[in-house]
């Protein structure tokens, strides 16, 4: 099979090189190991998640077909509906907090000054840590008895941030921002460096100051970077899991039980793997729809270049 594919590929191509020598090309066999591996461990599970969502399975034995049972129960489950809203809320808050900070930091870090390079290198450190390490660190820092709130009561009230819904959500948003702002900063730094200097020179000649240059040149030029960054935040936000597991365990009550955590609970704590699969699939669908909507609404799919007219 490989040989036919390889020769077929060669004949379909225009008589290749100027010298008249046939350029030998690799056949499909070169792609085979990676493809088989990927299909087995990524594509098959993705198909299976859909199949399993129509079954009953407790983790032992074999899954049994259950029709639409899981799905029907899912939409009547108040915790599930609440978890979807919480996922959206956390994602939205994440975007709202991280986007302005990372745009400002990114544009600032795009400057080539020495001190900016040094500080940027330090800002980067949280991104090196695993989400687990970050969550464990913050959990210890914010511990009501041994952490910072115990010392700075004037700032934290009774000190138990994990005891109220707003407190717990606040913790998740702050910790998420602490860890992922450097990533988005890097996106904006690269984009800001790609802005043609001629635009700033023209603006300076017209007498525009730093602030006006930022709003009239930098921000519009960052449009594609903003879209990319927001899509990554949406997908990342909706699938947040480690942080919730370690920081709040979905609590107090189910007040921070977002869908990804609910899926884990259902499947691996409640041994209801069918429902867990349904939640997982629902989550993927929601993330895909939102990403596509962002792409559509922003006109990114029409791929308008920011350097048009230059």
């Amino acid at each position: 099979m490989t040989t036919t594919l390889a020769t077929g590929a060669v004949t379909r191509r225009r008589p290749a090189s100027r010298a008249g020598t046939a350029v030998t090309r690799p056949g499909f066999a070169w792609a085979l190991p990676a493809t088989v591996f990927f299909v087995l461990f990524a594509i098959v599970p993705l198909v299976l998640v859909a199949v399993l969502s129509f079954t009953r399975w407790n983790g032992l034995g074999s899954p049994e077909f259950a029709g639409f049972d899981n799905w029907n129960r899912l939409f009547d489950d108040p915790v599930m509906v609440k978890s979807l809203w919480l996922s959206l809320l956390l994602t939205l808050l994440g975007v709202a907090v991280q986007t302005p900070i990372s745009i400002l930091l990114g544009v600032w870090a795009a400057g080539h000054q020495r001190n900016r390079a040094v500080l940027s290198a330090i800002y980067f450190v949280p991104l090196l840590l695993s989400a687990t390490a970050v969550s464990v660190l913050w959990r210890a820092l914010l511990d009501p008895n041994f952490g910072i709130p115990a010392e700075a009561g004037w700032l934290f009230g009774d000190g138990n941030l994990f005891g109220s819904q707003s407190g717990a959500i606040g913790v998740l948003v702050v910790v998420g921002a602490w860890q992922f702002t450097p990533f988005h900063t890097l996106i904006y730094q690269g984009a800001a460096r790609a802005v043609p200097p001629v635009l700033y020179q023209a603006a300076a000649i017209d007498g525009a100051g730093t602030v006006r240059q930022f709003f009239h040149i930098t921000l519009p030029q960052l449009r594609n970077a903003i879209i990319t960054s927001v899509i990554l935040m949406v997908v990342g936000g909706l699938t947040t899991f480690d942080t919730v597991l370690i920081l709040t365990q979905g609590g107090p009550g189910t007040d921070t039980t977002i869908s990804a955590y609910y899926m884990y609970q259902k499947a691996f704590k409640g041994f209801d793997f069918g429902t867990g699969s349904a939640v997982a699939l629902l989550l993927v669908l929601v993330a895909t729809v939102i990403s596509l909507a962002v792409v559509r609404l922003s006109g990114y799919d029409r791929m308008r270049s920011t350097s048009e007219g230059l």
Partner: protein, 272 residues
């Protein structure tokens, strides 16, 4: 152009330095004191009697083993990635077959699959394969999920090799494997280091697959060790945070000595 120093930006950058630095400082300071000292001076106090005892306790208390497991997982994941991705990217860039085109699309689709979405079926597949609670069962899915980004990165790098170079090798009558070894690999070094670092980071920091696919102490990786430590002995803050620091050390070393590759690996972008 002459520029006034931007006071506002300078102030803002110091505020962010504080936001990033305070937790890191607090962590380091906590790990260097005994538990009783930490309880007395609190997280914001200056440590008085410095000690490395927390680190030693952690290493003897199982983190040595977890560390070793994580190294095994990381090295294996990188090996798998380096074994299958370069030939794949080479085929995508150089083969004119329609099948490789489809394969490339499949991997692009793979970029959009979050690991969270497949942990239930992954648990099913790995259990049925008899690999539950086995490091191999962690290595395989972790490697598979780094493939899309690695393929994208390496394909981008290989596309930049000019057709003239291929033609020159063809004139010598070189078969594909010689082109691959003598031309493609040496010219993709930047991309190869990027995908090495990217997949190593994914493996080192991975949590979800080990969480659902392993259970015993012998197969525990370091992230899982941190999680267990926190749920069981969360009250021992200095010991816990020392374990966090231990888990970071290899990454920090790479960051110090190969910052470029690391940043590019984190961003999953072309390494040139």
């Amino acid at each position: 152009m002459r520029r006034r120093p931007n006071v506002l930006a300078g102030f803002g950058s110091l505020v962010w330095l504080f936001v990033v630095g305070l937790p890191l400082y607090t962590m380091l300071a906590a790990t260097l004191q005994s538990r009783s000292d930490y309880a007395a001076s609190g997280p914001l106090g200056l440590p008085r009697h410095l000690t490395l005892q927390n680190y030693l306790d952690d290493l003897q208390g199982g983190f040595g083993q977890y560390f070793l497991n994580t190294v095994i997982v990381t090295v294996s994941v990188v090996a798998v990635v380096l074994l299958v991705v370069p030939p794949l990217s080479y085929a995508i860039v150089r083969s004119r077959g329609r099948t490789t085109d489809l394969v490339f699309r499949l991997f692009l689709l793979g970029l959009a699959i979050p690991a969270q979405a497949v942990i239930v079926p992954m648990f099913y597949v790995i259990s049925k394969a008899g690999l539950y609670d086995n490091l191999i069962g962690v290595i395989l899915p972790t490697a598979a999920f780094s493939l899309p980004v690695c393929t994208l990165v390496l394909t981008g790098v290989m596309r930049d090799i000019t057709p003239e170079l291929y033609e020159a090798m063809a004139m010598d009558g070189a078969p594909p494997w010689r082109v691959f070894v003598q031309l493609v690999l040496p010219l993709s070094k930047g991309g190869l280091s990027t995908i090495t670092v990217f997949s190593a980071l994914q493996a080192w920091n991975g949590f979800l697959f080990p969480l659902v696919l392993t259970q015993s102490d012998e197969t525990k990786v370091i992230t899982l060790g941190l999680y267990d430590f926190q749920t069981q002995y969360g009250i021992n803050v200095p010991g816990l945070l020392a374990a966090v620091v231990l888990s970071m050390i290899p990454i920090l070393l790479v960051y110090l000595f190969a910052r470029r590759a690391l940043v590019q690996g984190l961003m999953g972008v072309g390494g040139k």
